[in-house]
């Protein structure tokens, strides 16, 4: 066996099992595969930032009852002010950001009851 057999991707990787359609194979994993994001179903009660940005205004507080399409938050992203509206009639269960916060994409902003 050649020096290559030790590893294929340029690092010393351990052999692991990969199941493809019911059959198991002994192989190494790529970094990309190991770092892949595991799928979780979306929770409609949670409002999550769809783009990274800065919170400019918070128009609601915990316990508020809001109507569908009522403005909730102004999120500045890519030099644009994005107003985020309530998706449905709801009560605000908890608020997870405040004015001035910088949020990465996918950060929990508030939870509906």
């Amino acid at each position: 066996m050649s020096e290559n057999t030790k590893n294929a991707a340029g690092s010393d990787k351990p052999l692991q099992k990969l199941n493809i359609n019911g059959d198991e194979y002994l192989t190494t994993f790529t970094r990309k595969y190991e770092n892949r994001k595991k799928w979780t179903p979306p929770n409609e009660k949670e409002l999550v930032s769809f783009i990274p940005g800065t919170i400019r205004q918070v128009l609601i507080k915990e316990g508020d009852v809001v109507k569908a399409n009522q403005p909730l938050i102004v999120l500045e992203a890519m030099k644009m002010m994005n107003t985020i509206y309530a998706p449905f009639d709801a009560k605000i269960k908890s608020v997870h950001m405040k004015t001035g916060d910088r949020l990465p994409k996918g950060t929990l902003m508030l939870v509906f009851e």
Binding site: M1, N4, A9, L18, I20, N21, G22, T27, R31, M78
Partner: protein, 514 residues
């Protein structure tokens, strides 16, 4: 002696220009671990072969006090020369002159050498080391980029285009390399991104270093934008020379033939592949057991390593290898490996390089991330590329060939000219475990000992289908061969395919799923 005076003046002018941005700027360049533009060209090209053009070109920008600024050569060196005795056109951006920024005249020089390359049908090498657009020149600078991108596209598939990233290459500038055939990067020197760390921090609040955002490792392992990774500029130039030795100068030529050499005795083809299809091995050992002198030149070594692509010679003639790599991700097809293989197949087809496929894969990688990343659309690229390619296509099934993967990897059905299989080949819809669980679900669940029943049924399936003879009985495989016969049979197949001509239906162009 008036003539002498003129000659002296010329020499003086040349020397001035050759100092680029001056001593201080050159010191800075060297301190960054980088060579100067002219040093790079002279190191890469054969000694004394470089002829420089447009040395005395000057910009004519007037805004922002630019009229007072003398920028030697306008920040780029262009010319012609030889690599291993064969002509090339080359340009190298000079970071010591206004940060190698691209103004109108800078771009006109690049465009001039690109036009030469296409007209003369010789490879084009572009060395990128530039801060980006010269902002003072405004839209003229953008126009310059556009002219370059257009020529990259029109020259694509006619002459080899090589991009060498030896410094920053940011913003719109990245699209010239992205449109070329091969991108070379060097550790700690190459930086490529659309939006730099500064802007990302200001706008998005995400902090990341240049190296982590768009360094050489990122592009050779994560993005797949780079094809060759080197630890030094010298190593990078050696890689370029090696590549140029293996590919033709244009789409009407063949690569220079070398003296045929047998593979090295150390690579024993019959002892590499384990019989058990669940065990890994390095497919590059099989390639080395087949090609001349066991010399395999791998492309994109660290990206989508479950697919191995590269060039090797068969009796002196360059062939392209497309191979599943069981050592990484069991050799599955996925989004990245499909992109990798498809583009390489199209490269080989464009430059009349025969394709040899070595197949051993369990199928496509399952997963939500894969499905949502569009594995359908990306996977389709392989089918498209193989079907469309009219160069000789030879396939050897080493072991597993399951399901959609069997069809995709250069099968008879996509018009492979010759399909061979080793006796260890298993051509089936899926692996024995998975298949037995579906076909014999009822028998297994109703058995008093389901595990024993499953074991029996898997065994039954293996005996019936886990072999090359069912496919051979339909003529989908031309010949079942011993591993030791592989090289000679491939050589024979290449010989009989030399005059291959396939007419495709008349069309403007097809619509590959990209």
């Amino acid at each position: 002696m008036a003539l002498k005076k003129h000659i002296l003046e010329l020499q003086k002018k040349r020397q001035e220009v050759q100092m680029g941005g001056g001593e201080k700027a050159i010191e800075k360049q060297v301190a960054m671990g980088k060579m100067t533009a002219r040093d790079r060209i002279n190191t890469l090209l054969d000694e004394n072969s470089f002829q420089e053009y447009d040395m005395f070109v000057q910009h004519d920008a007037r805004d922002f006090d630019m009229a007072k600024k003398v920028l030697h050569g306008d920040g780029v060196v262009i010319g012609t020369g030889n690599v291993s005795g064969k002509p090339v056109c080359i340009f190298a951006q000079d970071f010591t002159v206004a940060g190698g920024s691209l103004g109108l005249m800078h771009s006109r020089k690049i465009v001039k050498i690109m036009d030469h390359a296409l007209k003369m049908k010789v490879p084009l090498i572009g060395i990128n080391d530039s801060g980006g657009a010269r902002i003072q020149e405004g839209v003229n600078s953008l126009a310059g980029y556009g002219e370059i991108f257009f020529r990259n596209t029109i020259s694509s598939g006619v002459i080899p285009q090589i991009s060498v990233i030896l410094g920053p290459c940011a913003g719109g500038a990245v699209y010239s390399p992205a449109l070329t055939d091969f991108v070379f990067v060097v550790e700690n020197i190459s930086k490529m991104f659309i939006t730099g760390p500064e802007v990302i921090k200001t706008v998005l609040g995400e902090e990341i270093s240049m190296e982590d955002l768009g360094g050489a490792r990122v592009h050779s392992e994560i993005t797949g934008n780079a094809h060759f990774f080197a630890k030094s500029e010298q190593e990078c130039f050696d890689q370029i020379k090696k590549l140029l030795s293996m590919i033709p100068a244009n789409n009407k030529r063949k690569a220079v033939k070398t003296t045929p050499k047998p593979p090295k005795a150390a690579y024993k083809i019959g002892e590499i592949v384990p019989e058990d299809p669940s065990l890994p091995y390095d497919v590059r050992d099989v390639i080395k057991a087949i090609v001349d002198d066991s010399d395999f030149f791998e492309i994109m070594q660290n990206w989508a390593a479950n697919m191995v692509i590269g060039f090797g010679r068969m009796n002196g003639e360059t062939c392209g290898f497309v191979c599943n790599q069981p050592l990484v991700m069991a050799g599955v097809l996925d989004v990245d490996s499909s992109d990798k293989a498809a583009r390489f197949i199209r490269y080989c087809d464009a430059f009349d390089i025969p394709i040899i496929t070595l197949e051993d894969l369990p199928g496509y990688l399952p997963g939500v991330d894969q499905e949502h990343a569009g594995v359908i659309r990306h996977g389709a690229k392989i089918l498209y590329a193989y079907s469309e390619a009219t160069v000789p296509k030879l396939t050897v099934i080493l072991r597993k060939a399951y399901g959609g993967g069997y069809i995709a990897m250069g099968s008879r059905h996509l018009r492979a000219d010759f399909v061979f299989a080793w006796p260890t080949a298993e051509i089936a819809v899926m692996g024995p475990e998975g298949a037995a669980n579906i076909i014999f679900r009822k028998e297994i669940t109703e058995a008093s000992d389901p595990n024993e029943m499953r074991r029996q049924k898997v065994q039954e399936y293996k005996e019936k289908f886990a072999n090359p003879y069912v496919a051979a009985s339909r003529g989908y495989i031309d010949s079942v061969i011993a591993p030791e016969e592989t090289r000679n049979i491939l050589l024979h197949a290449l010989e009989v395919s030399v005059e291959k001509k396939v007419e495709l239906p008349d069309k403007k162009h097809g619509l590959p799923p990209f």
